[in-house]
Symmetry: C3
Subunit: 344 residues, 3 copies
């Protein structure tokens, strides 16, 4: 499928500078430009690529001032980054979607399947499960008994949703993620540990996206809850009885221990960890590898393990390297001072 500069400019409210009939069929990074591709320039650091790129069209910010001639056709927009995101969304939305229930899928006769649903080969839909309209269930997804899946959900291969969990609308889950495995609950006895059955569920609200190989455990009782708009990256651990507030985003490999509640609009860096039973307030920014061990007040930034203010952390880290010298000097000072006092 090809689009002309004119058509694209109309779609995103831009202005063509160059050949309105210039046509593209794909996207490319500006530094990897190629004929027939559209690129974008947002970060000023990359401006020099604009003059070399082989891409046919480049999206640029309205106010960009050219310093030399450009061979590509330009489309000027208010915000090139947002415009390209919008274009990519349009591009994705017109791609043909898979439809129908594959004859190699297993769908329980006791399951309820909505309209316009795709269920791929070897997918497995359990007794009493409900799959909402427009859902896309890829091959090898396992939907447990009694699971409710909302409308327009997209589950990639090898996702497992344990029995009884509830998933909202427009939820995307990437390959290999596990929703609703047992929380890690055991009671010690003299001979070993006794399992505490985990009879709760996981609730995932609307517009959540979950990366690959992430685990969200069911609660002991009640529910582990991921509120609407949350975005979780790959390989994240969400323990039983946790709660993640609206529009919070977490990078890969973050871990939350049991019963911890994280507020809304938080941002969490990769490999950060949260102790159990704490409350992290709204709009907390947690740096990568941070260890959060107590409640936070909100609108805070944290880094380090245990977590502290980033300014303090980076200053302290810089001085860390001088610690051995400080230690030596401190001992030297002690000696000198003792001598001074003795000789007084």
């Amino acid at each position: 499928m090809e689009f002309t500069a004119k058509q694209i400019a109309d779609l995103i409210g831009g202005r063509v500078e160059g050949n309105e009939a210039a046509a593209v069929h794909t996207f490319a990074k500006i530094e990897e430009g190629q004929e027939g591709a559209i690129s974008f320039l947002s970060n000023p650091k990359y401006t020099h690529y604009l003059y070399e790129t082989k891409s046919t069209i480049v999206l640029v910010n309205e106010d960009l001032e050219l310093e030399q001639e450009v061979s590509a056709t330009l489309i000027r927009v208010k915000n090139a980054y947002e415009a390209v995101a919008k274009l990519l969304q349009i591009y994705e939305s017109i791609k043909p979607k898979k439809t129908g229930i594959d004859s190699l899928a297993f769908v329980s006769p006791k399951a309820t399947i909505g309209k316009d649903v795709y269920i791929g080969a070897f997918a497995c839909i359990g007794d009493g499960a409900v799959i909402g309209d427009g859902a896309q269930i890829y091959p090898h997804v396992v939907i447990g008994d009694g699971v409710k899946v909302g409308e327009k959900c997209l589950f990639y291969p090898n996702v497992t949703v344990y029995q009884g969990c509830r998933i909202g609308n427009n939820v995307t889950i990437h390959a290999g993620s596990v929703i609703g495995a047992d929380g890690f609950g055991f009671a010690p006895s003299t001979e070993g540990y006794d399992k505490i059955p985990q009879i709760g569920i996981v609730i995932i609200e609307d517009n959540v996206e979950i990366g690959a190989n992430t685990c969200i455990d069911r609660s002991t009782m009640g529910a582990t809850v991921v509120h609407k708009g949350v975005k979780l990256d790959n390989l994240i651990q969400v323990a039983h009885n946790c709660e993640i507030g609206e529009n919070t985003v977490m990078s890969a490999q973050v871990g939350m221990a049991g019963s911890t509640k994280i507020g809304s609009w938080c941002m969490v860096g990769g490999q950060a960890g949260f102790a159990g039973h704490i409350h992290v307030a709204d709009k907390t920014f947690v740096g990568a590898q941070c260890g959060v061990i107590s409640n936070t007040k909100g609108n805070e930034q944290l880094i380090g393990s245990p977590a502290m203010d980033p300014k303090v952390f980076f200053k302290a880290s810089a001085v860390m390297k001088k610690l051995p010298d400080m230690y030596r000097e401190l001992n030297q000072l002690k000696k000198e001072l003792a001598e001074l006092k003795a000789n007084k």
Copy 2:
């Protein structure tokens, strides 16, 4: 299914205070109480919920003194937490279990399947595999050639057990976990790395529970061993030739490098890491995000990276924040002392 307060009290050796005929059909957290549910009160912090809860029955400790009237029927027991664990186990044990071999499963004609086994759709049992009596193999589990699985094991969807591994009795493995992938062994050459084939296996003893998306690698030769009663959470890495002692528990995202041996009755916090070829003694308590790089003596507590005594760690961490000030003050002292000496 409904149970009366009288029936429950008889099951767990408790004493009813209120309506013996009060009936419940589900569990609820005390703060989320509802009619027809049983809750429990163990942590004194939550005592105020006892007077507000809508649950029909609440399990409480024998010695609890009421400060106001309670609408729920109480069951007094020695230890409310243990009693609820016991009740949950009974509740789980009476749930109907899946049985039979699904017609969509693949079971090698050279495999041996015990009695009362469930094998779900699309599960795959390899040549020479042995599945013990009462095992529950969920859909999409892959059991490699020659694997031995003991009695009453429970494997959730998308578990992979590589060829030749040996699993004991009563072992539960959650979705997506991988048992017996190759250890990470390569020999450097001038052109790159040569693979060292990993011809060992993984041995998992009785009563082990393994969380979701956890990886336990096979050994180069011999076996990677997880001893009986071990409980591993999600997303854990156990490298080749490791050994984990009886009744040791590990939280999510812990990583063990190759050939490390961990003793029995250890507790390991989330995201902790162990260097290779070390011995961690029995009853070592390792905090979250800890980095253990050398042998431990037993009955130790460790935290920080590199690991140290928690008291030292938390004191040092508190002073960390003052490091920049200390640095400035130290330099100031040096100057003052030099002046003092010069002026003497």
Copy 3:
């Protein structure tokens, strides 16, 4: 299959000391020796086992001097460790390989399958996919539409490769790994986050090995690239638009944030993390749990979070424990000095 000491010595260029007809059929660690097994001795720490081992044959270094009688037949070679790696490779190569396309696999009629390919039960090969000669695709692997897989690749169960990705020759991917899930890209708006579609791919070059449950995300545009000879362990996160240079090895649970480029011949310890948009130069050695937040110069060793020189790190860590004492002493010195000055 049995081999005599003479046959083995011929294979690896060794010299028999003892019974040339001594025959073995398996490998064993020297400390777990058994009749009919071959062991090796490389680490001098284990030399005492040589005199006790029950193994029939032991590979030893040419220059080993015996201190007492040995019952096993010895084969002397230049480097016992390399010799055993070679032997293991031979042993692996003669094991019978699975062949043929299982009748329970799903192979799209629009896919192209090479010669001597194995495709296991319930594997799923999408439209337009190309599988090279000699590939081994285990049960439950999902190969998306348009994916290209080179020759002699080996994919274990439950691997997912998303549509459009390109895999070179001799690539091994262990169970549960996910290649080509969406990069973690969202644009904030006032109501939440808008998805930035990820239309790039993942390119994996020749001779790469990837562990279990590892995730390599597709790029926003262009490609996330894993260059030839790279070895990745389990549970690793490689974000969108990353690049990993030739022959770099990474231990388990390492995480790379988006657009970071790592050079060739690097070694990265377990649980280390890399910030986004940085360049790590060739031959950088990154310790376990390290946090790399800025570009590196090459031939560096790094440890700690934030990363620093190991010598500095270990010295500083040692002094860390004395920090509380230092703090107290510093305050004491201040007081004493002030007194001294006052009394002057």
